[in-house]
């Protein structure tokens, strides 16, 4: 899976959860949950959706690796690489 494909997948799943937030307008280096205004339930929904879509189970202990949009991309690229 290419980085572009991973980014598209992450962007789409975040778009389902936070349809009112434009991906182009967020700060990709700062707190993902604050940027998208998502709570722990939304985040769990995101982790569930990514797991099903990309076939990668994200353990709870790895949540800190998904702290920002860019960090999440790097984490997923490594897990899928």
């Amino acid at each position: 899976m290419t980085p572009d494909e991973i980014e598209a997948a992450l962007g789409e799943e975040l778009g389902r959860i936070a349809p009112d937030i434009e991906l182009s307008e967020i700060d990709r280096d700062t707190d993902l949950r604050e940027e998208f205004d998502i709570d722990s339930m939304d985040f769990l929904t995101l982790v569930t959706a990514l797991g099903q879509r990309l076939g990668v189970e994200i353990p709870e202990a790895d949540y800190p690796n998904l702290d920002s949009f860019d960090a999440a991309l790097a984490y997923l690229a490594e897990r899928l690489g």
Binding site: R16, D20, D37, M41, L44, V47, T48, G51, E60
Partner: protein
Amino acid sequence: MNPFLMPSLGADMEAGTLVEWLKAPGDAIAKGDLIAVVETQKGAIEIEVFEDGTLDSYLAEIGKEVPVGTPLAMIRAPGESAATEQVAAPEIEPEPVSENAAEPAPKPEAEPVPEPVPEPEAEPAPAPKAPATAPPLPPTQPLVEAAGDRLRITPAARQLAQTAGLDPAGIAAADGDAIHLADVKAALDRPKPPADSGMREAIAAAMSRSKREIPHYYLSHTCDITRAEGFIARTNSGRPPEQRVLLGALTLRAVATALEKFPEFNGYFTDGQFAHSADIHVGTAIHLRRGGLVAPALFNTNSATLDDVMAGLRDLVQRVRIGRYRASELSGATITVTSLGERGVEQLFGVIYPPQVAIVGFGCPVDRVGFVDGQIAPRRTVTVTLAADHRVSDGHRGALFLKAIDKHLQAPEAL
């Protein structure tokens, strides 16, 4: 034969608009069945019937706003006019928006009880004109899919609507019949109103009444949740995401369990007096992205397991986000819990949702320096607050209630 009335879904509701029938004349109905969808200030609400029998006839028109208490339909008691039932049913004109014929009559969540069963506890109604008082639906039961399924809508259109968080019931079909993909796209292209003004009015009405009528008192207590978080981490470590539990579910269990010994915080204050509720239905405040919030009930929170509560919470949040929840959920809570979540601030001071008498607030978890066995150690803490009705309880009992919540959070395995 009994009339089925437009229910009151809270102190702030005076009228509602019938938007969809979920049952047709001639259909057998059981207590707890969803019978119709009503548009209120809080969105589209699925409303349940409170008796067994047969839907006889419609009395209200779709699309018309009617006051609370207006008869919407007539319901025959079991056995009543049974002879005419078979004759009458086919003659009824098919109703315009639903496709009830294709639906199996009993809903999955309905108890197929042939006769009216008396409620185990005679439950005091929260308000005299509120027939919608909590038929307890245990959160363990699979909840019915959004009633949008009964709309005529193509699968592709439904999927897009769901993805976009759009309620299919609010989409107009260009051909006046079924909703197609193009209709959903057109609905998505329309600029959205910045906030739901009806929702804001509903919150304003309820909160104004609360602040006008309820003499609130406030207490705050900081709980060590290091153990509770460790328990959640251990529980989730071997689980796939769809089976993981959140700290929020554990705090709901702690509140519900503590309430068993503090009845003066669980119930309704109406007509100048407090009526304790034997059942514990904890309402959980869920904020809506378009603005506003609702606090639907998780029924029998004290007797459910942690996994049950988590499943119920997950289901509620999903349905609230697409704007479909039930009348009984909206009016059934006997106390409310509100949490700011992990990205919030440390402490909140709740406003009681009348006719309830208490609201428990959880701030965001904070790292502090604490002591374990006399040694300085990092601790994870959360500040829990209580706003309660001074007409019903005093600060002394409120303090004991907060301490009891703390005590239960120290033994998370038992929750």
